[in-house]
């Protein structure tokens, strides 16, 4: 039987949000243990691997060998495949790098370890420990051996299928319309353009989009997200993706060398992310941007705040709901408005017909947008197709 452990801060899950939390808690002077159920940090990858880059300095991440390439911008394809090109600056730095996610996750875990964090692999949490209504750690298994880890503060960074949040009774359930079911092929011998991340909208991917993120000349992640509430039959995301590829000769001739799947939450911000002794961070706290489906930046930004508050709670000797609430407030100040706004935008976009998507892209093609915001887009569309923007007046 493995020995029971005691630490200041326990982080469950060694993805980007977990490693960030662990690193900043350790830098704040806390003893930190990070556990990971898999045998390898970062693998298997479940990610499109595109990410923005303007936030990296904010959380102390330096670019590394995990960057495959830097793109110049994004191209948005309407259903009739008119193209809207968005350079990086006007996209608000929403595009930037295509990365090697397993390398990225390992780099962040190494950063955390260098800051003093202890890491245990092949270690799964099996339930949370409670004392007087407070969460005081988890019961875990390492290589099948059960033991207990007691901690002043426990952090659930256990991803989309978070168990920690559910065990703690936090409101992490998601509705079918607030989740995209995703599938991606890594394809070689394709005609991708290494200067752009491409997005295809409309009925090709109901309630989501098809993406092509180039990783090198001839090599790209080709994936799809479909809103679960729009799925009627079995294996529809795969059928939609296969159909899209079949219709695009530059990709139909490609060869698939990897298949990746996963769920992405596209929900409004979670109502509560902390309880006595426990905080949730990253995908586990439903922090994914509901419009883009990107989760790394938000997870890392919130992770830094989470780690700082965890260290503070350890020093105060008080992991109460009130003190941990500082984290809940902190990430909301930084992220909540955009999450909510993008969720509203997503709710609207999901209702648009292919014809409307075509009109929007057509109206935007001839205009020069200084900054790509929902407001600027609507203004431009309104000028050409006022009937399209009628139901969007709340945004104008």
């Amino acid at each position: 039987m493995a020995k029971d452990l005691r630490t200041d801060v326990l982080v469950v899950g060694a993805g980007p949000a977990g490693s960030m939390t662990a690193k900043w808690a350790a830098k704040g002077g806390a003893r930190v243990l990070m556990i990971e159920k898999r045998q390898e940090i970062g693998s298997p990858v479940r990610c499109g691997e595109g990410m923005s880059k303007d936030w990296l300095t904010e959380v102390g991440i330096r670019p590394g060998p995990w960057i495959n390439l830097e793109v110049e911008g994004a191209r948005i394809y309407s259903p009739s495949e008119q193209v809207l090109e968005i350079n990086e600056r006007s996209a608000g730095n929403e595009v930037g790098y295509v990365v090697e996610r397993d390398g990225f996750d390992k780099a962040l875990a190494i950063d955390a370890a260098n800051a003093g964090v202890d890491v245990m692999l092949k270690t799964a949490a099996t339930e949370v420990l409670r004392e007087n209504g407070r969460i005081v750690g988890v019961r875990a298994k390492q290589f099948g051996e059960p033991f207990e880890i007691r901690a002043t503060v426990t952090v659930g960074a256990d991803g989309f299928e978070s168990q920690v949040g559910r065990w703690a009774g936090l409101p992490t359930n998601i509705a079918m319309r607030d989740m995209d079911s995703c599938l991606q092929y890594r394809m070689t011998n394709v005609d991708c353009d290494v200067r752009y991340c491409d997005f295809y909208l409309g009925e090709v991917a109901p309630g989501g989009y098809v993406w092509v993120f180039p990783k090198a000349e001839g090599l790209a992640n080709v994936g799809i997200g479909v809103q679960v509430s729009k799925i009627k039959g079995i294996a529809e995301p795969k059928k939609y993706l296969d159909a899209w590829i079949a219709q695009h000769p530059g990709y139909a001739k490609g060869k698939t060398i990897d298949v990746v799947g996963g769920g992405v939450s596209i929900s409004p911000p979670i109502k509560q992310s902390v309880t006595d002794g426990l905080m949730l961070v990253g995908d586990a706290a439903r922090m994914i941007d509901p419009l883009t489906g990107g989760g790394i930046a938000n997870g890392c930004i919130a992770g830094k705040i989470c780690g700082e508050v965890a260290a503070e709670a350890v020093h105060a000797g008080n992991p109460s709901h009130e003190l941990l609430q500082k984290y809940d407030k902190g990430w909301r100040v930084r992220l909540e408005e955009k999450l909510y706004r993008n969720w509203l935008a997503k709710e609207k976009l999901c209702t648009l017909s292919d014809e409307t998507f075509d009109k929007i892209v057509d109206a935007l093609q001839g205009t020069k947008l200084e900054k790509l915001s929902v407001h600027n887009i609507l203004k431009a569309v309104h000028a050409k197709y006022p009937e399209v923007t009628r139901e969007f007046e709340a945004f104008l």
Binding site: K37, R38, Q39, P44, R46, A124, G159, F160, E161, S162, Q163, R166, N173, I174, M176, M179, S181, C182, L183, V226, V228, I231, K232, I234, A235, E236, P237, K238, V259, V260, G261, G262, G263, S265
Partner: protein
């Protein structure tokens, strides 16, 4: 179980890609993913079929 249809998660690797989409969406938290093994708690499962839709590759059947 009377009144309940069979739930079958194909997890031999022929269809399931162990992505966890079903685990995250299950409103009853009765599906478990352990690296390359998916199991479910048949007593808790209500056959709501949300996981069937959420699976990107069609690995879950309710017969």
């Amino acid at each position: 179980m009377p009144g309940k249809r069979d739930l079958h998660i194909e997890s031999s690797g022929q269809l399931c890609i162990y992505c966890g989409a079903c685990v995250g969406i299950c409103p009853w938290n009765c599906i478990y993913l352990d690296e390359t093994r998916i199991t479910f708690d048949e007593k808790v499962c209500t056959r709501c079929e949300i996981c069937v839709k959420a699976c990107p590759v069609g690995a879950i059947e309710i017969g």
